[in-house]
Symmetry: C2
Subunit: 142 residues, 2 copies
Amino acid sequence: MGEKNDCLKLENQMCFPLYAAAREVVKLYRPHLDKLNLTYTQYIAMMVLWERGQCSVKELGEKLCLDSGTLTPVVKSLEQKGFVRRFRSSEDERILLVELTDSGRSLSDSARDIPERVGACLNLTPEEGAVLHGLLYKILGR
Amino acid sequence: MGEKNDCLKLENQMCFPLYAAAREVVKLYRPHLDKLNLTYTQYIAMMVLWERGQCSVKELGEKLCLDSGTLTPVVKSLEQKGFVRRFRSSEDERILLVELTDSGRSLSDSARDIPERVGACLNLTPEEGAVLHGLLYKILGR
DNA sequence: CTTAATTTAATTGTGTTCAATTTAATTATA
DNA sequence: TATAATTAAATTGAACACAATTAAATTAAG
């Protein structure tokens, strides 16, 4: 039979379901984020800021596993929308600090119920969710 | 305490580790795929073709959870590289069929060891891999 | 102190990803 | 049969994602 190529079948790979499921879950967020005038990437950047209030682009990149090529336009767009301020650190002018505005901070009120709403569409039990969460963080080495 | 916002912490979300891990795993493929002159998206399209030999853009999209906006340039690029031929079905001119060339078919020889090499970098036991695989397919509803 | 190395963002170019629209072909309906 | 509805790809425009390069600021080394 052709089982010499079974290793190349889509359903036997890890990459395919991982990548497809990730895009699927991001799509579940979209209608909720539209109401906040945020894209998904802007949303996860805001989550870091809701937790910290302020951080540098470098720290944002470390938290989100994204580089400045991605983050520079994301942060500029958040500034355009009035959710953050951008300014250079006075101690080290290389560092760009990103800080929540009042508008950006209060946006978390409208975001608070999104994870639960999305989670309910996921068809995973809480136990399955916890297992998946753990395995993903193991892949991320965190 | 601030636990009213715990639900908005990055590490308590499903979306973040899922999306980040997916990109991380795609990055693991890149050096191997560079040798085949394939991007990741081109690679998963080729996997469908290695299995079927020929299929329509629509079928490719259903298998990969991608639409024609993504696949049209991917398939054109594969044609440029000489790995596939594109032609309209004679029975239904709406349908674009994509077919492996000899060059595209023989590329699978060089691809066969990639999944194992990438898997070895993943730091998951076979059991963990199987569990993850099952949970991801559950999210995908397949 | 001066030069070299490093660090931080920004920029550039390629390749997705997706929503929305368009075009052409086919099928269903009046 | 004409017309309407549907289907399959392609196109368009916006937003990532990332490698590679650049520019400016800081730090380290001679």
